[in-house]
């Protein structure tokens, strides 16, 4: 089911499928999530934990990206 905005329990694959433009956010936070074999298993919460990210700031940037479908670059 499509969500209105990314949720912490959603997998990386679900988020990237629904909002492809969020790929730039994953890259800007220096994760290896885009193209990762485990994208369907890892939730946003787990990604933040694995990469030691500030979860609120990570989620905020993801949500910002979803509001701009043509966004190719993320200013982090």
């Amino acid at each position: 089911m499509d969500q209105l905005q990314p949720q912490l329990y959603q997998s990386v694959q679900e988020v990237l499928n629904q909002w492809p433009q969020t790929a730039s956010v994953f890259q800007a936070f220096k994760t290896a999530c885009t193209g990762c074999y485990l994208a369907r298993f890892c939730t946003l919460k787990e990604v933040a934990g694995s990469y030691d990210l500030q979860f609120d700031s990570f989620l905020e940037k993801l949500i910002e990206a979803t509001q701009n479908p043509n966004n190719q670059r993320s200013d982090i």
Binding site: A32, C36, Y37, L38, R40, F41, C42, E46, S50, Y51
Partner: protein
């Protein structure tokens, strides 16, 4: 049990097919059911049929003249395999396909698919996408074999298997079933080396390795090894 035509839309090369086309594929296909260890086809056989795995699991393996085996790929449900004959005339299967458990596949004559491709552009495009995906994967694996450390190759092979077959548990771990021999063949190394590496990873809490099952307790840890990420 008869195959429900609409289920074929779960197959990547049929996702753009009409309902009528899906019915035609089922009508013109033959169901083949095998027990674990039996073969759908052998390396070198004429590629007379393209297969879609409807249930179970299979693997594609190649054998060299000395009898050494290499695992090319694990096939999961709703994946196509052995489709070369639909694209190339007089093709032979470059690998054997063996059932890893009780499995059923829909076998569609290569000639029939080839004929359908003349009037269904989606079929040509989607088969091309499938095959270029294989080429890309083989190029990556070749590069790994030529340039990368064995631990990294094993990690990447494990991740490839996990992507296709892994199941997440309530604890957040990922479980999958395969033999150490499978992993050795997929990563171009020996059973001894795979066992040594898995034991090492188990000591570090990355995995729990059984005889034919692995539980990945620290998925990100395996990714760190596979991608040489900073720890």
């Amino acid at each position: 049990m008869p195959i429900e035509p609409m289920n074929l839309r779960r197959v990547s090369v049929f996702q753009n097919a009409t309902d009528e086309d899906l019915r035609l594929f089922v009508q013109n296909g033959v169901e083949r059911s095998l027990e674990e260890g039996e073969f759908f086809f052998f390396q070198g056989d004429p590629a007379a049929y393209a297969y879609i795995l409807v249930s179970g699991r299979a693997k594609l393996l190649q054998t060299n003249p000395a009898g050494q085996q290499v695992n090319l790929r694990t096939i999961s449900e709703w994946q196509v395999f052995g489709a070369l004959g639909a694209v190339r005339e007089n093709a032979t299967y470059p690998a054997s396909a063996q059932a890893l458990e009780q499995s059923t596949a829909l076998a569609i004559k290569s000639d029939y698919l080839h004929e359908m491709m003349q009037t269904r552009p989606y079929l040509s495009f989607d088969l091309m996408k499938l095959m270029t995906g294989y080429i890309q994967e083989m190029q990556e694996r070749y590069r790994e074999l030529a340039t990368e450390k064995v631990e990294r190759r094993i990690a990447r092979a494990l991740l490839r298997l996990t992507e296709k077959m892994g199941v997440k548990t309530e604890d957040g771990y990922i479980e999958l079933s395969f033999t150490r021999q499978d992993l050795a063949e997929m990563s171009g190394t020996t059973l001894y080396t795979v066992s040594r590496v898995l034991s090492e990873w188990e000591r570090h809490g990355l995995v729990e390795a059984g005889r034919e099952r692995v539980t990945i307790r620290n998925p990100h840890g395996i990714v760190q090894i596979a991608e040489e990420l900073e720890k």
